[in-house]
């Protein structure tokens, strides 16, 4: 796809991004597919229908109405309606034409006789609804399993310094094998025979429902709904006057900082601390973090100490965040759903995880694959992570645990860890099975289906010019079947400092409020019941985790500012530019995510929403994270 303008927010300079509203806004926007001729009135209400298609869409509606018997005098066809409502997977309701076609194609395949067994049986394979024990790393499953003998685990370190004789290395240097390798894990291994299945189970019932969603014309929502850049979404949860004054003072302080009026900023900081002290709950905490970050910026306290975390500590904080609130669980769950659908019918699969950390996402996927009709594929996992300061091989440890788990559920499992300072250090050849010593498919075997997964990691690349393009190019070169991306749904990367500050203030206020108000129902982990103190610690660590993000967004600039969150609309532009097209998440994923939320978080204020084929999780009316899935835009990918 033609690139029409510079990378967004790629410059590491302060405040001067100045491209607010460019992406997804009016001019300068990448023309995606074909959003010309869309009926503007309907577009403003969330429906994309080309004017030239209007009559055809109307016709489809009439056909459906007739089939459903939904007019007076005709007996409604309850079984068909139930089928369309419960069994059919719906995708991207904004695209009326395709939505209708999907349902019409259901008409051609007669639905099963009533009653279908469980009301929510789906066409595609779904994740088990309550993977709680498997998901928590802290559960005892891992500790009691004997080491796997049939898995391969290797770690490749890309961050090792070059030997003195080499010139400064621009590319990574590969060194094989960690220093301590359990002897029973390396070396050649036999390829386990796949369990044979008697019947092919990969075809979905009904003609028209694509397993991963139909190819839709994608138009960026902002183009039709509003020409201006969508501003911050403000949800006021605390209406007390002191709280409002606090927010106002924080914004005034940010403004003073931008004006370089440090005297006023300093005075405001003092006012803020007084106001914050009189607050309680989420607002006080958020205000403290923002005030602290502003102070860091004002007094030029080098924020490296505060804002950057060593990766081990960061992992620990993230685990607490995982336990406290549903955001990460949602991210893993929805990404896994997309991956599961993409892997349907494939016998060899390979997941490349850019966000390996503690590997919490993978037990659930392994479990789902083990349970799928026709049996599990052979599963290869490549985990990528940063170097550890104390040289422990964290990636190795995680891989070992996952291998043990895979063994217990009889999945042929292979693991490779790659240590890299930055995702931009990766090259496609590094992940090639030939290179890493993994088992290569024989001439007759199908090639492996690859999924690339990134959870809250891609935005870091925006701190280095060219990095995101390189990484997306590398991903593309791997010819993945699916790419899953979860990112914060916020624009913390463009416009002047004050805009970024304001956006972040509203974003994190909402996020902190959800930690407070979202029933800390023990995080829902099915294993040990959390004590009150344990819950409190989880919450505190989650706040620290978020606090570091706040500090980074507010106090850092340039290469240090890695929390460069961008919105779904902006990520869509990037992905499309890089040669990907959306793979839609459907009503089945939506429903299961919603049910999971009710299970983990007691419902409360959490909301799942569908937008342009992606799913977002938010608190009340403010989406906070977005899961999207992508595949290669050229047909050859399939």
């Amino acid at each position: 796809m033609k690139r029409e303008h510079q990378e967004i927010g790629g410059d590491g300079g302060g405040g001067g991004g100045g491209l607010t509203g460019m992406v997804g806004g009016g001019k300068g926007k990448i023309k995606e597919e074909d959003d010309e001729g869309v009926d503007e009135l309907l577009a403003a209400l969330g429906y994309k229908v080309r004017s030239s298609d209007m009559a055809d869409v109307a016709l489809k509606m009439e056909q459906l109405e007739m089939a459903m018997g939904s007019n007076a005098g005709a007996a409604p066809d309850d079984s068909l309606i139930a089928h369309l409502a419960s069994d059919t997977v719906h995708y991207n309701p904004s695209d009326l034409s395709t939505w209708l076609e999907t349902m019409l194609s259901e008409l051609n395949t007669p639905p099963p006789p009533l009653p279908p067994a469980p009301a929510d049986r789906h066409l595609s394979y779904d994740l088990p609804p309550a993977p709680a024990p498997a998901v928590s790393v802290q559960s005892s499953i891992f500790d009691t399993i004997a080491p796997a003998e049939s898995s391969t685990i290797t770690t490749v370190d890309f961050s090792a310094p070059p030997p003195p004789s080499a010139r400064p290395v621009t590319g990574p240097r590969v060194s094989y094998g960690p220093t301590e390798t359990p002897s029973d894990l390396t070396g050649t291994r036999e390829r386990k025979r796949m369990r044979s299945s008697s019947a092919s189970s990969s075809s979905s019932r009904g003609g028209g429902v694509a397993g991963i969603g139909s190819v839709n014309t994608t138009t960026t929502e902002a183009s039709s709904i509003s020409p201006a850049a969508p501003g911050p979404t403000v949800v006021i949860v605390d209406s007390q006057e002191a709280g409002i004054r606090l927010v106002h003072a924080l914004m005034a302080c940010a403004d003073a900082v931008q004006q370089d009026n440090m005297k006023a900023a300093d005075a405001l900081l003092k006012q803020i601390s007084v106001l914050a002290a009189s607050q309680g709950g989420a607002m006080r905490k958020v205000a403290s973090y923002f005030a602290q970050a502003l102070a860091g910026r004002i007094y030029r306290i080098h924020p490296q100490q505060d804002c950057s975390l060593d990766s081990a500590f960061s992992d620990i904080l993230q685990m607490h965040f995982y336990e406290t609130c549903p955001y990460l669980k949602f991210a893993h769950f929805t990404a896994n759903q997309a991956i599961l659908e993409a892997f349907a019918g494939r016998r060899r699969v390979h997941v490349i995880d850019f966000s390996m950390k503690q590997g919490m996402q993978w037990p659930a996927l392994l479990q789902a694959l083990a349970l799928r009709p026709g049996g599990p594929p052979s599963f290869r996992l490549t985990g990528i992570g940063p170097p550890q300061p104390d040289n422990t091989d964290a990636l190795q440890q995680v891989g070992l645990k996952l291998a043990q788990f895979a063994e217990t559920i009889h999945i042929d499992f292979e693991y490779h860890g790659f240590v890299a300072n930055s995702l931009a250090d990766l090259e496609p050849y590094m992940l090639d099975p030939n290179r890493t010593g993994g088992t290569v498919a024989g001439a007759d075997e199908e090639p492996e289906a690859i999924a690339v997964n990134s959870i809250f990691d891609l935005h870091r690349l925006l701190a280095s010019p060219g990095a995101i393009e390189k990484v997306l190019g590398t991903v593309r070169a791997m010819r993945p079947r699916i790419v899953t991306v979860v990112e914060q749904e916020a624009n913390h990367n463009s416009g002047p400092f004050v805009d970024r500050f304001t956006e972040a203030l509203h974003y994190y206020s909402t996020m902190f409020d959800s930690l407070e108000g979202g029933a800390c129902s023990g995080g829902g982990s099915g294993g040990a019941v959390e004590s009150g103190a344990g819950q409190q610690q989880d919450q505190l660590m989650s706040e620290v985790y978020l606090g570091h993000q706040i500090c980074n967004v507010v106090a850092c600039e340039g290469a240090e500012r890695t929390e460069r969150h961008e919105t779904l609309t902006q990520w869509r532009s990037r992905m499309v530019r890089a040669g990907f097209e959306p793979a839609h998440l459907g009503s089945n994923a939506y429903k299961q995510a919603s049910i999971l939320l009710e299970f983990f978080a007691g419902g409360d204020g959490y909301r799942v929403e569908e937008r342009d084929g992606c799913l977002t999780l938010g608190w009340h009316s403010r989406p906070l994270i977005a899961t999207s899935a992508w595949r290669l835009a050229d047909a050859a990918a399939r």
Binding site: E65, G73, T233, T502, H620
Partner: protein, 355 residues
Amino acid sequence: MAGSNEVNANESKMAVPLNTWVLISNFKLAYNMLRRPDGTFNRHLAEFLDRKVQANATPVNGVLSFDQLIDRSTNLLVRIYRPTPIPDTEDPQTSPSPATSSIFSSLISCPSPDPFPVIIFFHGGSFAHSSANTAIYDSLCRRFVTLCNAVVVSVNYRRSPEYRYPCAYDDGFTALKWACAQPWLHSGKDSKLRVFLSGDSSGGNIAHHVAVQAIESGITISGNILLNPMFGGQARTESEERLDGKYFVTLQDRDWYWKAFLPEGADRDHPASNPFGPNGIDLRGLPYPKSLVVIAGLDLIQDWQLAFVEGLKKADQDVKLVYREQATIGFYLLPNTDHFHEVMEEIKCFVSSNC
């Protein structure tokens, strides 16, 4: 009965522009899938299909919006729409993110000396569908701001069948009380809350009942604006039989929604659905607000709506009826007919003359 289906499609297609037909038919189709014969509702699919928009603190066409949680115990959210604030005369260039900052400034500000109307809006959806952040209603509320130079408060009331009568009314009244307690919503030399209650379909029904409760609480409402308000009764009226299934709506679906909203075991002569029916109350002598009631001539429940207007008249209440003979339900969702434009003018006049 394929023949009658074709006739129905042709009739409704002739009554509205094609894109309107597509919009309303889309809802009809989707809603048919969501209502289950056993009275339960497919809420997950409903929320998946619903097109929502986020609040936007940056003004778009002169209107900005933000959400506020006004009751934590019921998670009651309202979406507030305002005209773009006039920039701070002190230092317009350097005001921080003017729109967002002004939101917070205004929340703690004193009543404005210049009077402005506050329109509390209850979205439609037959008590079961839609939300305050549903795109069609976000769009409509924005129009009201510009039309009437008003602050609009759209209430995200609890819906049936999960929450039956009287939850929606309770939420409506909670929103009204909340508005009464906001100094920044008061205006004019007398620092009054110049509040109008409005809504379409079930929202119109809610507006009426909240107005009644307001009387009981001594709250003064400047006016009611009801667009195709949803009323019903046990009897079958002539318009219901004549128009059943002809213009997007069937008697069967109306029955379903009442059954989902009214208390278990109640029939449609319950005062909620039939306020001037056998179980209705007498409004004579009570300070019920002036009403503007808009009825679409192709709406099958118009006999009940007309009965409502009659009921108000008999109780000596001030009511203006705007009857749009050729209009269908939902005409106010798209600005592409005379019905739309002329009714908007009526609303504008009504608000300005009663503010």
